[in-house]
Amino acid sequence: MEYLELASIVCAALAVAIGSVGPALAEGRAVAAAMEAIARQPEAANTISRTLFVGLAMIETTAIYCLVIALLLLFANPLLA
């Protein structure tokens, strides 16, 4: 079953590659918006950065899901067992 192994390796790479594009763009936008907000209201920097961190972690979870899927494909693939 070389075909299945090859397919899972390619798909794992694709999952991480494509799955990291969206969160990267989203995190960029979130940080940009937070920077703008802090520049306008420096006294609210604490609240903004706290919310920013929580939001960033939420966004990053999407990429982490892709990573987990990729690792599942590579290390715990039910089709290869």
């Binding site: 961190f53 960033l56 972690a57 979870t61 982490i64 690792l71 290390f75």
Partner: protein, 239 residues
């Protein structure tokens, strides 16, 4: 290379396999409990240096809880503070050579997430009774009941995958780089892991707090709108 999803079994305790993550967890628990006992042994009104440092930690936790929820921190301080401190120490335990953070294993992250799931039920029932807790599922309106039930499971699952994925990916990347490049190269990545570990501990605690307080707020009996109107009238009279 070892699979990051597999657990290393150290020895068998009867039918139960004891993995490395569990042993590390026991070690962290012992350090935290004994440390807390020793540090809080002689508390006085005139704080010593040690006590002042401890009070700083507790006061910071309290401020964070109050700012996140707007509620009094005392009911949540124990659980949320323990979650935060434990996950932080667990994430940073990779600094000790030879240790792997237990949160990088599936079972520890899953156990922590299940704890959050149970604590949401516990705090919800304690605040509004069983009826109030059940009512919180019908929060905006009863159409949302299936979605709310689904959400209560999926949000905990997402916490589990988030904690596990973040910590495990850090350990995994450091392992790959160390096996490819050599001894000192992964140090910047490990420094990044420290930041990730802190942020993830914070996120986990804050999310648990948000879930708990939203359930508590939705399960509470409706505040009567009656007192609001007289106050407006009186204010009109005053003006």
């Amino acid at each position: 290379m070892n699979s990051p999803l597999a657990a290393t079994v150290l020895y068998q305790l009867g039918p139960v396999p004891i993995t490395q993550a569990v042993v590390t967890t026991w070690g962290i628990m012992a350090v935290l409990v004994i440390g807390a006992l020793l540090l809080t042994r002689r508390l006085g009104l005139r704080p010593t240096r040690r006590q002042a440092a401890l009070e700083l930690v507790v006061a910071t936790l309290d401020t964070q809880i109050r700012e996140t929820t707007g509620a009094e921190p005392s009911p949540y301080r124990g659980f949320i503070g323990t979650l935060f401190v434990f996950i932080l120490v667990a994430n940073w335990s990779s600094l000790v050579p030879g240790l792997e953070p237990p949160t990088a294993a599936l079972e520890t992250a899953a156990a922590l997430a299940i704890l959050v799931f149970l604590s949401v039920i516990w705090f919800g029932v304690r605040a509004g009774g069983v009826g109030g807790y059940l009512k919180s599922f019908a929060a905006p309106n009863p159409v949302m009941i299936p979605l709310n039930i689904l959400e209560s499971v999926t949000r905990v699952f997402s916490m589990f995958v988030r904690l596990f994925g973040n910590v495990m990916s850090g350990v995994f990347v450091v392992g790959i780089v160390a096996s490819l490049a050599g001894l000192l190269v992964p140090i910047p990545l490990m420094a990044l892991d420290l930041l990730t570990g802190l942020v993830q501990a914070y996120i986990f605690a804050v999310l648990a707090l948000v879930f708990i307080t939203s359930t508590v707020a939705e399960g509470k009996p409706e505040p009567e709108p009656a007192p609001a109107q007289p106050s407006i009238k009186t204010s009109k009279k005053d003006t």
